[in-house]
Structure formats: structure tokens, C-alpha cells
Symmetry: C2
Subunit: 391 residues, 2 copies
């Protein structure tokens, strides 16, 4: 087990009707003027926005709003939010939505207290030293951004997609009501499920030794996600299955399943180029890339892949032919992705094998000559993995 620091200070308020506590929560953190940040307006159509505003108003807290966050959130709206916060003296940002909205809120929170261009932070030219507080009402369980220190923003100019980890903008509180996820379309539900599974797999695939305790926690969480996913695809309003998925999504990415080990993240970086170029849903891109990545790295730690197959998919063990077991596990993962309606090849997401050199070039700009820790991939490895995903 490697040395680690684990700090997940976010207050998670989980369960039915918990969004009605948002006013009390904001008050407990002494919020005076809140920016309500959201996406393309479904929270208005569903009535959620009205309930949130009612709860905030009941505490005599002032608010303004900024909608319009799109998947793969853009720098352009972040700039707009920063200007608004400065002009209106906002002291608390409330993200109502999924990962894109929360990531956008984090970037606004950092930019609002900075005189320069917020992209300096994502460009690693400056370090964030302060940020407005961020609170969350989660409507899409996937990115885990409600409990994580990360934010991924796309620079419209050149479609550069960049992630940044920073403790300062980790959400102060996150309200998670599984009922709010009932109306998520099947495609988005499935993409979210793959995103959270990927957050676990990026940590599970490690070269660190003696990490069996966290391996078991990760496997247990993956099994529960798969089980609940199968229920939710048939019964979108099954509270218990939605609740399992919501909580799994949070613990998949608040750092808990990554303690004591070096995690990988190569597949995420490879996928970022896909979704930046084709504007494909992150989870769908991951469904395409993860089986390809796993097949390419299977010999890096065949025993780990064998264990994954047995513990997560119940594949029958074969000590003498671990490659058979490991391969069956990866095939089972890919079949599960297909089963819940996700793409598993370039073609299905409108990607083109001819663009692979362009993807690799963008990747090189973003990560340099190497990416990943489970296997330190060269750009040639990256190209090979894109080809496997292309099929």
C-alpha cells in the first residue's frame, strides 16, 4: 500500500426530497448571493428550479441564474459566469445538474476571485489560491464531480479539452436525490453508468502492490453498479436501483477507491480526444475505449485482469490459463456495455479511423510523449489502442 492523503470534506445529503434542504444548507454556510448554474433548462421544465428557488427564498438568500451549460462544458460560458459573479458580487455557486454543470461551476468559482484569464489555471500557468464556495444538487450520476476535486473544461478555440484537479473548489455540499434521476433518458443513464465504472477501473488498474482491501471495495461497488444498471434500464423509476447508482457514482470518484495506489487515467485521456473531436458523450466514448485499452494492456498484469473477471463478472477460474479468464472478463464488460445500449466501436459514435493521427496529435499536445501509469503508454501505444477501438 502506497502512502496517501485522503480528504473528502464534502457534506453529502442523500435521499428523497433532499433538494428542499438547499436553502437551509446555503444558510448554514452563510451564503448571501447565490449563482444558480444549470444546463439546458430541463430543471425548469421539471419544476426542480422552482423548488430550489423556493427553498433559497425561504431563507431570504438572494440569487441570480446562469443556464446553458452543454456536455463537455465550454470556456465561453465560464467567462460569462465569471463576469456575472464579479458584477453581482456572488459569494456561492449552486450547480444544479450533472458533471458538466458542476465542472463549469468549479471553473467559475476559481475565475471569480482571479484577475487574469481563468484558462491560466487549466493551462497550468497559474495555481488556484482561492475560489467561491460551490454547492451541488445532482441530477445526473456519472462524473462524480459532486464529490471530486476535478473539473474538465473545453476551450472552444481549437476544441482543447483539459482537466484540472484542485482541492479548493471541491464542493462544500452535495445534495443527491435519486428521484431526480428518474427522467434521465436511457442513453444518458447508460453513459453515466459507464463513466462511474471507468472511474473505478482507472484506479483498479494499478501497479501498486498489496492493495487488496481497496480492490475488494472496488469490486463490490462494480458488482452493485452492474446489478442496479440492469434494473434501471427496465424500470427507470426504481428508487433503490437509482439510489445505488447515485451513491456508487459519488464514491467512485471522491478518491475513496483510489487510496494507497497509483491510478492510471490513460483511457480517460484517450477518450477526451474522442469527445473533443466528435462532441460524443464522455461515457459513450469510454465504452468504446475501455475494452480496447484493457485488451492492449492485458499482459501488464494478467493476474489482476483474471481477478477482475472472477470477482466482477463471475467468470469461472482457470489457474492454468489466466489469459482465458482475463479475456472472458473483458468480453463480459464489453457485452455489458452493449446490453445497456452503449457503443463499443468508433463507427457507432461517428468516429473515423482516418482521424487517428489527428487524435494522437491532439493527445500529444495535451499530455506530452507518455500517458498512464498502469502501463506508461507511448504515442505509438495510444495509436494502437485507437486502432483496436476502431475495429
Amino acid at each position: 500500500m502506497d502512502n496517501f492523503v485522503f480528504n473528502s470534506p464534502t457534506k453529502f445529503v442523500f435521499g428523497k426530497e433532499t433538494e428542499n434542504q438547499v436553502g437551509d444548507l446555503l444558510k448554514s454556510y452563510n451564503a448571501k448571493k447565490v449563482l444558480i448554474h444549470y444546463g439546458t433548462g430541463s430543471i425548469k421544465r421539471s419544476g426542480l428550479f422552482d423548488r430550489v428557488v423556493e427553498s433559497i427564498a425561504a431563507q431570504s438568500i438572494d440569487y441570480i441564474e446562469l443556464g446553458g451549460v452543454v456536455p463537455n462544458p465550454r470556456d465561453t460560458l465560464v467567462y460569462e459566469g465569471i463576469d456575472l459573479c464579479k458584477k453581482e458580487k456572488v459569494d456561492f455557486i449552486l450547480a444544479v445538474g450533472g458533471g458538466s454543470v458542476i465542472d463549469s461551476a468549479k471553473a467559475i468559482a476559481a475565475g471569480a476571485l482571479y484577475d487574469g484569464d481563468f484558462w491560466d489555471f487549466w493551462d497550468k500557468k497559474q495555481e488556484i489560491t482561492e475560489a467561491l464556495k460551490v454547492g451541488v444538487i445532482l441530477t445526473i450520476p456519472a462524473a462524480g464531480s459532486e464529490g471530486s476535486n476535478s473539473s474538465v473544461i473545453t476551450k472552444t478555440d481549437g476544441m482543447l479539452k483539459r482537466g484540472l484537479n484542485c482541492e479548493i473548489y471541491r464542493p462544500t455540499f452535495a445534495i443527491i436525490n435519486p428521484e431526480l434521476t428518474y427522467t434521465l433518458p436511457a442513453y444518458q443513464t447508460a453513459a453515466g453508468i459507464i463513466d462511474m465504472m471507468s472511474h473505478i477501473l482507472e484506479r483498479y488498474l494499478t501497479k501498486s502492490k498489496n492493495v487488496i482491501l481497496v480492490d475488494r471495495l472496488a469490486e463490490g461497488t462494480l458488482v452493485s453498479i452492474i446489478e442496479a444498471a440492469r434494473v434501471v434500464m427496465k424500470e427507470p423509476t426504481n428508487y433503490e436501483a437509482r439510489a445505488t447508482i447515485c451513491w456508487a457514482s459519488t464514491i467512485a470518484h471522491n478518491g475513496f477507491l483510489g487510496v494507497g495506489r497509483i491510478s492510471d487515467w490513460a483511457t480517460h485521456r484517450l477518450e477526451h480526444e474522442l469527445s473533443a473531436l466528435y462532441d460524443v458523450t464522455h461515457g459513450a466514448g469510454l465504452a468504446v475505449m475501455f475494452p480496447a485499452y484493457m485488451r492492449y494492456t492485458i499482459m501488464e498484469d494478467i493476474q489482476r485482469y483474471r481477478r477482475f473477471a472472477i470477482k466482477v463478472f463471475g467468470i469461472k477460474d482457470n489457474k492454468h490459463k489466466p489469459i482465458k479468464v482475463a479475456t472472458a472478463g473483458i468480453n463480459a464488460l464489453e457485452s455489458f456495455f452493449k446490453e445497456i445500449g452503449m457503443p463499443t466501436s468508433f463507427k457507432e459514435i461517428g468516429a473515423n479511423g482516418e482521424d487517428i493521427p489527428k487524435l494522437v496529435e491532439k493527445l500529444r499536445i495535451n499530455v506530452g510523449e507518455r500517458v498512464g501509469n498502469f502501463k506508461s503508454l507511448t504515442m505509438e501505444d495510444a495509436e494502437n489502442i485507437y486502432h483496436i477501438a476502431c475495429k
Copy 2:
């Protein structure tokens, strides 16, 4: 899954030589004058105290010390600590030790900013509204107090043992270096292992429905503890096994394995009376009480006990005779307790069946007419369980 709030803000700094970071950590929280609180002096003999002082002095932070905490920590030393903090204007308490030292530090932290008698809080006559910050260097993994909101103090007058949960004195940071636990005697190591397993079991035994995700996390943690315990009893300086036990002990009690469910805690309350009357080690008392509690409540949820047996001890399933499976699981738990050198009957801890009426009377004073949630035990039930433990 029940609604819940989960908030574990403690910063955990885990791994080899991490105690040398204590000065930096205290500085980052702006500590000016620290009370170093500890037990019976083993930290001085081992050289740990000197390393801690060196790290604190390197940051030019002032400190005073108060040793002498005993297992089942007493109110008398808490009063002494409170006086010292008030007189010396202490602003941060650093607990260097195990659960008793940390619990004592929490009580001092609350009392130092209160004009009345700190026992008012434990007596539930007053609520804590502020406390000094508490930091921890853990030397005994067991109680989980380094990441929990609880503190158990014994009032010397009448030997009343009382617990109190309060978010305000939850530790700000906890340094956990498994190497510091190498020198723990086998008995204390084993008692700690039982304590942490009990913290998981108190949460595992629930009537809440649809809690399978957290069940799996709990089972995975229990399996890892048992596996590591067997290594540690033979090789006390095995880093990886000590590390597994240390981290398991923390997550067993920071609330993570209890989300979404009503937990039980009857066995802890029954044991508190045992250790208050006989001053027996808490973990040893739990080793005596838990199998008795489980046998008495086996029919409350036979399927849960059946699952426990299969998942934690690998007992062969028998769908038609769940009672056989469940009983084998409890027997396996008791055998494991014996295997690591723990007592499993009144006699072995010097307790006397004739004292059972006295134990029940003390219990009634502390909890009222009922205790526990998995089964709401009457005082007659409690008496029966003591008799089962008496054997």
C-alpha cells in the same frame, strides 16, 4: 436505502514516516499552542514523542503536554486537561495514541471552551457549540476515533461509562503510520481487531432494506481484516498487513460503512457495562458479547446472517437450512476470536454471572428500558444475552 447525511471531513495522512509531517499540518491549521495528549508513556520510550516535538518545534509552534490517559479514559484527567488548556491558552489538541487518548482529547477540546462542567455534555444536559481543534497521531488501530464523531468517557464516581457523538470535535487531521503499530502487544492488537470488526457489524446488522452496496463494502472490509489479522499475529512487523488493519479500522468507524441504514449498537452498550465494572479491554469485552448477541438475534434476519456466513467466512450455502449456515457463520466468528487469543466467555475476562443483575441495572440507568435497533432489546433480552455470554 434510507436517507442519510455523510460528512467525513478529517484529512487522513497515511503511510510510512508520516508522523514527521505533524508540524507542517499543525502550521497549515494555524496552531499556535498545542497540548500533546498521550497515554502511559510508551510514546516517550519509543522515541515517537521526540520526533513529534522536533517536527512541531521546526515550525516554531509552542506546546505543552499531558500524559496519563488510561484505557476507558476517565473524567478526572479530562478536568485536568481542561484546566491546563484554559490556563495555558491552548488552541489545538494533538492526541498521540489510540482511541482512549483521542476520546479524552475530544472531551478536553469541548470542555476547554465551556464555562460549566464538561460532563453536562456527556450527561446530555447541554449541547456542544464549540471546541478546540483536535489532531491525531494514531498508535493503536481499533476504536476508529481518529475519524469518528464519538467519544466515550468514564465518570470515576460510580464508574459510569458514557458515549457522545458530536461533529464539532471530529478530528481535523489524523496521521496514520502503520509502522507505529509494530510494537503493539498481541493482546492489544487482537482486541483492536475485534473492536473494528464490531464497528462494522453494528452497522451490518440492520433492518433497513436495499442496502446491498454497503453490505458488499462491509463484507470486503471484514474479509480483509480477518486475512490481515492472521498475518499480523504471526508477523507483527508485516507492514502491509498492519496497513490493511489501520485503514480498515478508520473506515470501519468514520460512517462510510453505515450510510443509508439504521445501525444497531446494542452490543457496544452491553459491553460498556462489562468494561466499566471489570475494567476489561473494550475489544475483549466485545469478543465475549458479540457471538452471544448474534446467537440471540439470529432469527431477526436469518437471511442476513446466512449471507454474512457465506461472504465473510466462506461457509457453504444451504438454501433449505439457512439456520445451519447462519450458525456456522457465528461459530466461525467466535473461533476466529479464539484463534487470535481473545476471550469468548465471562469467565475468561474475570466477569461473574452473579453480577448480571448489576450489569443490567447499570445498563438501564445508561440507556433506559430499550437498547438497539436491529432488535429493540428489552432489559430482559439484555439479561438473556449476558447469560449466553456467561456460558
